[in-house]
Amino acid sequence: MHKLLTDKPGESMFLLGNEAIARGAMEAGVAFTSTYPGTPSSELSLNFFQMSRESDLYFEYSTNEKVSLEVAAAAANSGVRSMCMMKHVGLNVAADVLMSLAYVGVTAGLVILTADDPFMFSSQNEQDNRYYAKFGGLPMMEPSSVEEAKEMVKEAFALSEKLKRPVLFRTTTRINHSTAVVTLGELPPRTTRGEFIKEPMRCVTVPAVSRGLHVKLLADLDRAQEMAENSPFNFVEGSGNLGIIANGVSYTYAVDAVRDLKAKDRIRILRLGFSNPMPAKLIKNFLASCDQVLVIEEGEPFMEEAVKAFAQEGGLTLPIAGKTPSLFSRLYEFDPAMVRNCMASFFGIAHEPAPATDLSGTPALPMRPPTLCAGCSHRSVFYAVKKACEGQDVIFPSDIGCYTLGFMPPLGMGDFVICMGASAGTACGFSTVTDKKVVAFVGDSTFFHSGLSGLINGVFNNHNFTLVILDNRTTAMTGHQPNPGVDMTELAMENYNTVDIEAVVRAVGVKHVSVVRAFNVRKTMDAVRESLAFEGVSVIIAKEKCALYAKSLKQLKGKPFQVNPEKCKNHRECIDALGCPAFYLENGMPRIHTHLCVGCALCAQACPENAIVPAKSL
């Protein structure tokens, strides 16, 4: 049985934040869940996915975040408690739905989780999604710890039902990927079937209806503010006239700092967990009781600006600070020592910051960036495309997935990456305004997510580029989640269909389509040359299962390769052009770690001396 289905209230478990949140939702009776995978939210979905196979919970990996929110919106408007999860940038994709769903509302609880990523551990930006709550006029909750996250999810469902609006649940990587001891609560039965009651004057957002809905939304926002004033998730602790206002993990750093600075009776903390709309009265009362206030929040000065406005309304002139060059930054994530030092300096508390560790004499270390795995099919395609384009000036727009890593040496493939699905769209632009050839890359999951729209645009507007679809039969980067092109029978899962990429590409009107095996370098190069010669949109579908995924399915059959020292002339084409991490140097000569090599035979095709052969043949 899945561990999160353990029906033993009161028992303690050591859970990852994402597991605790999933458990909290189960304890809230969630019955419908949907997502598009995105780190740092991925394990939350993985747990729902696994639990849905052992219970009456519904779960789906949707094609993108917008669709994911659409399916959840329908379920929550049919009386079924629903949850939709995504990473922070995913909410940009779903924003179109979000802004109007805020008007329409829900009939059963809908919690939308946005996992923000300060410091960009695995993201292209560090946007602060608290602004989406403000933008959409929706309540937002932000836990400060793993334990609290589990409890808060339940309250978020209750709040959503009280207001009949979706509630945004904002985490940051340090909540999602922290682990702590959590106490299990009751697991209630789920309501999995609902009823949709037609209410066109609420559910059909034509202008005449929406004008009324906006009025109601603002009235509900006032109600929400009253609730925030009295929410147990907004509380004051400690005593003294030095004030701190904090949210999320910053609150935990502040609590530790108060203890370290031995300032328990000097510092009071206002923690905001129900953080939009902000509790104006609570904040004004807090400010009135303080001589100085420090606002501690990662990301943007979201609370700080509001707090300063409240002070102005209340005629309060105490010093309020947060993000300034001498205190906190809008960049990256905070850490306990930084928070402690800023608190000590702002409040004038005597404190010796620990001296920085003396790193003198440490030699320069070789970098260890993430790389494409040994036997990754993307490496082969990049190599073939690069070879086929030799001597030509080509622009390579790329997209979001493992293959983004192809921009690094030695492959160096990937010139422009902005967001999911943008490679084909940007290819349209590059090919229109420059005289260069354009070859864009997109993964299979990303193709279905939103790459297809750019391709259709290219066909319709008659642009001139080649799109290489790196079809590795899974969503690899986030941990092998399925997408519409995946064969679910391999996972012993029924009731799914497979959408054939080639048929889709042909159906939208692409006139030049080639399908190749990713590890066949010669055929892939031929396909690239032919495609480049074609005027208009051409597509190459390069198929080969992700090596790690194939391994987990026990489908890896390749035998490891080895360098024949007799034949090797040490020109290092294998190392310099491919960068397969299975290679190492022994006395200056290339060698292959047999335990890493999966036997894809790419290096054997690249070696001009035919010196790389299956290990057993040596």
Binding site: F14, F121, V181, T357, P366, R368, T371, L585
Partner: protein
């Protein structure tokens, strides 16, 4: 309990997250407050993986530079890279078996000399235990047991109030059944290193 802070660094695939989880479970069984934070995502494609464990009365799950009481590295060059987490009182443990990053193989950077690595670590920390932990894992039956070897050494330092028996119990209940005996053997071998 006064907080005790532990940093574990490794290269993706070396099993440090499992070791951290086993330790966390052992703390849970022993009634010791524990919180942990780990870095996922891009790091899994052969990059550096770091986990931070905070035991005792603290709310934060991450550890600032210079604030680790205990430091464990699965790879010597990664030990040096994370040295800023240590201070002159830190108890440090490192595997001495190198796993050169691919950048060093393609000539972008040089892998440091192991004796230089251990000399610097010894100079800048309170106590250093450095040995070829991979060799002990191989002796136990599989180089994948490296994480259990280092866990054994960590417990033997006595810095954490967690008993070897609690960890053995966590290994028995939290690691793959077919690996339990090998993991326990690896744990004992590591334990013997520090004593």
């Amino acid at each position: 309990m006064e907080p005790k802070r532990l940093i574990i660094v490794a290269v993706g695939g070396q099993g440090n997250l499992l070791a951290s989880h086993v330790l966390g479970e052992a703390a849970l069984m022993s009634g010791i407050p524990v919180r942990m934070s780990e870095i996922h995502g891009m790091a899994q494609r052969g990059g550096v993986v770091e986990s931070a464990l905070v035991f005792g009365e603290a709310r934060s799950t991450i550890i600032s530079d210079g604030e680790a009481d205990l430091f464990v590295s699965f790879e010597p060059c990664e030990a040096l890279r994370a040295l800023k987490k240590c201070n002159p009182r830190t108890v440090a443990i490192t595997n001495t078996r190198p796993l050169p990053p691919f950048t060093a193989v393609i000539g972008r950077g040089t892998y440091p000399d192991i004796s230089e690595v251990t000399t610097i670590l010894r100079d800048k920390t309170g106590r250093l235990i450095a040995f070829d932990a991979t060799a002990l894992a191989e002796e136990a039956g599989n180089s994948m047991c490296l994480n259990m070897v280092l866990l054994g050494t960590l417990i033997a330092t006595g810095v954490l109030p967690i008993t070897a028996e609690a960890v053995r119990e966590a290994i028995r209940t939290r690691t793959k059944a077919s690996f339990v005996d090998m993991n326990i053997l690896a744990f004992e071998k590591g334990f013997a290193q520090a004593t």
